[in-house]
Symmetry: C2
Subunit: 258 residues, 2 copies
């Protein structure tokens, strides 16, 4: 969707200042040299989630890793949306999509939660993290969302911050229309931090939905009259959140200097 | 996302009345017998886009086709959202996703349009139609969206109905925030019919965006500061449309009697 899709961006761990030498690991060196066909002296952009985005050049590139030299800042670090996504894991392809697209849609934390109907119980968190990092690199974000380790639905709420509202996508259709809920949240001062929870392919168990509804920070929302796949529900709720109370309403330069 | 995902639904072409015998084709018979493991006497739901949803039973099932007997109506035909989606075709997996999810998100017409940067120019319209039909069966819709044959960007607007607003996802970030545009449309009386247009992976050409902006029915919208994949842009815009001025705000029973 961008004419700057060819702008190569890399997430790195080290601090970024002018003149810094940044080492990259084996996987990133392979990506740079073999997938993206870059060599010594080629330019790219780097970010680390703290110091904004910088122009850099490839200084060394080998089988075991490489090094970049940092030149000048291109964008200052921006504030992320404070938006958590809790989702019942689904199969490999859709869960990868959730990790990638929730990143692109600006979620700050991705947390797999195991519900009673959750079939996919073996979650490769490292793969989710890699997907999130790659999506951040490609979508122009200056940060990579945190990917939490999977926990049970009940454990997820044991140390829940009271002020954070949890919008539960209620597939029984019993909740409030999501637009109405988001517009009401947007009128609170300050706008409370949010989280979105979506269920597994089989839906929540009735008892789970009832227990969720009893939590003081939960708002049950509905996403229309049709049955959405788990990943479509996640992405739809995120898009509505960003459009109504997130950064889609803010003016300003788009990612990657578009 | 639904505990009724096991409810088998089939789109058929014939008229539906109590007692009618409905023939199904080879592919549907294979799906019923081999994929879903149903046999003579097993119940299912049928719809044809005109006569609502009906309970039926398998009456005959063979290699070349089969027959169903229609029993009683379960839902009356509902009015569809009047929402067209125009999209630059992308590769096979994402274009199949667009067809499936635009159906689930209630689009009434899917139209591939060829822009200058469109790489994927060979479009299998029959496969898109099959994806849309399957998605309609699974999401509880009572209709299957029309899938148009691909046309060029300019041809798409030659006979454009003047009252239909076209929201163009402008990846340069120059458009208005989509929520503001949708809220404004929702205040018009009557609410005008809409269409959404998203570009290819490489984005629209600058000249294309300028020409689009000159069309009297076009509203350029932005979908936030991050670079969205083509299919993420389609789904995000659709979800926002349904949430703000579509059927996600309507009260009432959800699909499949959830």
């Amino acid at each position: 969707m961008s004419r700057n899709a060819d702008k190569l961006r890399l997430f790195v761990e080290c601090g970024l200042v002018a003149g810094a030498c940044v080492t990259i690991d084996r996987a990133q060196a392979h990506y740079l040299g073999h997938v993206m066909r870059r060599g010594i002296g080629d330019p790219l952009l780097v970010f680390n989630g703290r110091d904004g985005e910088w122009r850099a050049r490839v200084d060394a590139l080998g089988k075991g890793g490489g090094a970049l030299i940092v030149h000048e800042a291109t964008r200052a670090q921006s504030r992320d949306s404070d938006l958590w996504v809790l989702f019942a894991p689904v199969k490999r392809t859709p869960i990868d999509r959730i990790a990638r697209e929730a990143t692109t849609l600006g979620a700050s934390r991705l947390a797999p939660v195991l519900t009673r109907h959750t079939v996919a119980r073996r979650i490769n968190t490292a793969r989710l993290r890699a997907n999130a990092r790659e999506a951040a690199e490609q979508c122009g974000r200056l940060s990579v969302p945190e990917v939490a380790n999977p926990v049970s639905l009940t454990a997820a709420f044991e140390a829940w911050p009271a002020e954070r509202r949890l919008l539960v996508a209620d597939e029984t259709g019993a909740g409030r229309a999501i637009a109405d809920v988001l517009i009401a949240l947007g009128r609170e001062d300050p706008v409370p931090p949010s989280a979105i929870l979506t269920g597994p392919e089989g839906g929540f168990e009735a008892g789970e939905l009832d227990a969720l509804g009893d939590l003081p920070f939960v708002i049950r929302v509905r996403l229309g009259p049709r049955i959405l796949r788990a990943e479509t529900a996640v992405l739809s709720a995120l898009a509505c959140w960003q459009a109504l109370i997130g950064d889609w309403r803010e003016e300003g330069a788009a990612a990657g200097g578009r």
